[in-house]
Symmetry: C2
Subunit: 247 residues, 2 copies
């Protein structure tokens, strides 16, 4: 027996004021809730921000892959369940299940987290930190993320500068702001007729305050590949599959 919970669950109420034009949770907000739930679980496992900070480390979300049947809707509860799928020397695989207000699973998520040195910004060995945590492998149905290809033939290129309100407590651009910037490639009417069915993002490098980036997109049917580049180097790659819906 252990005092450390293998599974962790948290229920949220989705206020109207948080919703997007389609009256569902915005994807960046959902990712924020996943991060919050992961943070709470890691704290319950005594491997949270507090313990890492004492070692001069911080958790960084490296990859996220989600498959969604639908999204939490306005004025309802939704629940996020999370557990650790595997632990490696340099990263932790953490999975999530998202349930609607009647307990149906509406989405599954697979993420990779690394611990980095706050000063050096280099990946740290997490073996000792996670030695007491028991992973629960084989539960998450989401396929592992494959390498997201570079965008070689963009049909859209935009420039974007990150501002004060994009910066998080680590003084880097908040992970969810990368996603906002990517979704802003599309207009509001597009999302009336398209739902995100699979979303993959790989955070390759940190973006800082006042950085200006290029966002390059290649669309192929219902799939978009998006690359965020700074000075010609990819800092983030993303792949989005859409499903047509009735408006």
């Amino acid at each position: 027996m252990t005092d450390f919970p293998n599974f962790f669950s948290k229920t949220f109420f989705l206020n109207a004021s948080e919703c997007n034009a389609q009256q569902i949770i915005p994807l960046p907000q959902l990712v924020q809730r996943l991060i919050d739930t992961a943070t709470l679980h890691s704290s319950a496992l005594k491997a949270g921000p507090k313990e890492l900070k004492e070692m001069g480390l911080t958790w960084v979300l490296s990859r996220l892959t989600m498959e969604m049947d639908s999204f939490p809707v306005m004025d309802t509860d939704f629940t996020i369940e999370t557990w650790v799928e595997s632990i490696n020397r340099h990263f932790t695989e953490r999975a999530f299940r998202i349930k609607d207000n009647i307990g149906n699973t509406i989405g599954n998520v697979r993420t990779i987290w690394i611990a980095i040195d706050i000063i050096e910004r280099r990946s740290a060995d997490i073996t000792a930190l996670m030695s007491h945590v028991t992973p629960t492998p084989g539960v998450c149905p989401v396929q592992r993320q494959s390498k997201i290809q570079a965008v070689t033939n963009p049909d859209l290129i935009r420039r974007h500068r990150f501002s004060y309100c994009d910066i998080d407590f680590n003084r880097h651009v908040n992970s969810t702001r990368y996603i906002e910037t990517i979704l802003n490639d599309r207009d509001v009417e597009f999302f009336d007729t398209h739902s995100i069915s699979r979303f993959e993002i790989a955070y390759l490098n940190e973006i800082h305050y006042d950085d200006t980036v290029e966002i390059a997109r290649h669309s192929d049917g219902d799939t978009s590949t998006v690359e965020i580049l700074r000075d010609g180097t990819a800092v983030t790659r993303c792949r989005i599959e859409y499903r047509s819906i009735n408006a």
Copy 2:
């Protein structure tokens, strides 16, 4: 005795992932929490979004004035208390008190809400809707908002286009995104040495998806006046007083 609570209170936990570079709650996020708490109280008073929607109406935040000694800090609880200060034919005055995790009042807020017709976007008579609500006047120490002057002599003018992720469930720009746009006039280092002590905003007209606006700012010592203009007409006016702090 009444079944309708005159006072309403809600406690929030401030996750690290929600914090800004100064490791406190971002102002837009705090305003979001105020709106959420107001919405919950109005629902408890049976004059919430549900009841208004049945009448073809929706609540719109028209003015907000806040005075802050300090802001909720990372990884702590904070509490928002709210009550109705006065009810008029065309608007409701609602006040808030913000308390830190040990119960000290750290801020006070005064707001004005109007109910508008969802289709016509015109202000509605709320007399019948609010007839059972008992206001509690004279509690909020914040001076009523005076008319915020136009910016006649700007020291900064920027252009900004509102995108998909700025749009709320009413298909207008989210109230908190106006505030983000205004704060983005300053750099991250400015907020290391300046805290917002008084913040006033008047929402004059709704901003829509794909609107491009001009943001004009006039700074005078520790006070900024900011105006958001669309096609030369003011859609929002804002006045911010800053206090110097030690970094």
